[in-house]
């Protein structure tokens, strides 16, 4: 079959480059409901290039063994692959190797920090400085994904600390005028997202980190929507902890990353306990390894780390700055196209605010499920619902929205298709005439 839907030149990629990129993603050639797939749900999970699939297959066909145990050749090869992958990811985000902890996903990474603080607070090891209790405060923002909200609600409930939040303004930005009154000397943890998974807006990490440092609070950055899309230098950002998920950045599911400053990781007691994270064990107690092994109990996911390393290499080969430029152009096109449609309200549309290639919107009179169903009929995959951010949606007076999210393989033509689709959905459901 000849290619009749060749991608349009956008941002930093030439037509040919974008076509080459797309050729690495077999799934992008799928036909859905009789139409070529238009995948605009990369914010939920990205598609995977063959290089990632090949790396996992190669690992299973040549190197597979359990890591950090056993003395046979394959065990050594597997351990080497596992630790090499850690080094690749560490370099990608500007961290040292021992500052990278493997988790199942970002959610587990946040829970790890919350439960480790909880364990420290119960006197189960760790540095006294990390204990929290009544009178202490944990601060999040109103735009957090549930994964960066509920673990802190639970930590507050377990320790007697108080949970507070930084509100958002109508344009979707954080109300920084209130930052100093909310983040105070009582604040022990400030957890916030780098890029909102609903608004696509990039938060001012520098401002938040500066305030947290001034009051001695630990910072936890949700980098799920930034690590895949922007150049990420965690050391330069100055955060204490950060999390992201492999599957949103071309990698496999089941692998996530927790970054923690070395001294802080080593000041925390473990969360999950068991094999491979100890030095000496008696029937009564155990001594724990330093980070990162302290936080990697049990048989580890290995092929997933190998896949993630391949994904990172793929992103680095293309170039994160070029990816960011490509997606920023798609994001602007998306927001401009959607905002021009009658009845469409883009959440947090904010001219001048830096955004990634993602937008969520409400079509007046049509539920997001129905918008999504209409688009799916044309092979267009978008996310519908509350995107695991109910408080954010409540803030904007809606229950659910439709979200289109692009990635390096997305094209301007695809953005135009989703905009046209939303226009036609309005007609189909009879909200425009």
């Amino acid at each position: 079959m000849t290619d009749t839907t060749s991608p349009t030149l956008t941002g930093a990629f030439s037509d040919a480059e974008l076509r080459d990129i797309r050729a690495d993603f077999a799934i992008l050639g799928t036909v859905v409901n009789g139409a070529p797939l238009v995948y605009l749900d990369s914010g939920a999970t990205s598609q995977k290039p063959r290089q990632v699939l090949d790396a996992e297959r190669y690992f299973y066909e040549h190197d597979n063994a359990a890591v950090h145990r056993g003395a046979h050749t394959l065990a050594a090869l597997a351990t080497e692959s596992f630790e090499d992958a850690r080094a690749v990811v560490a370099r990608f985000v500007g961290a040292a190797d021992d500052e990278i902890v493997w988790t199942s996903n970002a959610t587990e990474g946040i829970n790890l920090v919350a439960y480790a603080i909880s364990n420290a607070s119960l006197g189960r090891g760790g540095d006294d400085a990390l204990r929290i209790g009544p009178g202490d405060e944990i601060v999040v923002t109103e735009m957090e994904h549930h994964a960066n909200l509920i673990p802190w609600q639970e930590l507050a409930a377990r320790t007697g600390a108080t949970l507070r939040f930084i509100p958002i303004l109508d344009d979707g930005s954080l109300d920084l005028d209130r930052l100093d009154s909310i983040v105070t000397e009582r604040t022990r943890v400030l957890a916030f997202t780098h890029v909102s998974n609903v608004l696509g807006i990039v938060n001012p990490v520098d401002v938040l980190v500066a305030r947290a440092r001034a009051v001695g609070a630990v910072t936890v950055l949700d980098a799920c929507q930034s690590a895949p899309h922007l150049t990420l230098d965690l050391k330069a950002l100055g955060v204490d902890f950060a999390v992201f998920s492999g599957h949103k950045m071309l990698g496999p599911t089941g692998i996530g990353v927790l970054y923690g400053r070395s001294e802080l990781l080593n000041a925390l007691p473990p969360f999950l306990t068991g094999g491979s994270m100890i030095t000496t064990v008696t029937m009564e107690s155990a001594q724990y390894l330093p980070a990162p092994q302290r936080f990697e109990a049990g048989t580890q996911r290995v092929s997933q780390t190998v896949g993630l390393a391949a994904a990172v290499r793929y992103l680095e080969t293309v170039g994160m700055h070029r990816i960011a430029e490509h997606e920023a152009a798609l994001g602007e096109r998306l927001v401009a196209g959607l905002a021009a449609l009658p009845g469409v309200t883009v959440l947090g549309q904010a001219a001048g605010l830096h955004r990634v290639g993602l937008a969520s919107f409400d079509l007046a009179g049509v539920h997001s499920h129905d918008v999504g169903q209409f688009l799916d009929d044309r092979g267009i995959a978008v996310r519908v619902g509350h995107h695991c951010a109910q408080p954010l949606h409540r803030r904007f007076g809606v229950t659910s929205t439709t979200r289109a999210s692009a990635y390096l393989y997305s094209t301007a033509d695809e953005i135009d298709q989703v905009v046209d689709g939303v226009r036609d959905a309005a007609t189909f459901f009879g909200v425009t005439r």
Binding site: N33, G34, V366, H367, S368, H369, D370, Q373, F374, D377, R378, V384, G385, H386, Q390, H393, T399, S400, D424, F428, F429, G430
Partner: protein, 151 residues
Amino acid sequence: MSSTELQALYQELILDHSRHPQGFGLKDGAAAQSHQVNPTCGDEVTLQLHVEPGTDTVTAVTWEGHGCAISQSSASLFTEMAVGLTLPDLQGRIDLFRTAMRSRGAIEPDEELLGDAAALGGVSKYIARVKCAMLAWVAAEHAIAQVDAAR
């Protein structure tokens, strides 16, 4: 512009009911009520069964909620169908509807028994939407169980 499958899913009857729902608005005096949420999208419905004491006959269904065209029209169509039925008969209709919804398009809903609600048959081909169509029916089932339990 849109496929025949999509038009079968969103029949004019369904879109009409979603725009002008029957039984919308809660009323005092219900025999039981149930609140149901679809956790994947946050859609919710609170449905009340009004029952004539002694005969177990549904005199009215009232409800409130928000959600997609499928969930809203389904609540409305349920309301139309339920009035006049006894609670055991209503439970039978719910079972019938659920079986059709879960059939992935294999079972056409029985129009004789389900009335206009049979128009929701197209939903069963869309696995992700079955919960939308079932929301009000699950609420009604829960309300019936409460009436039974109160005896």
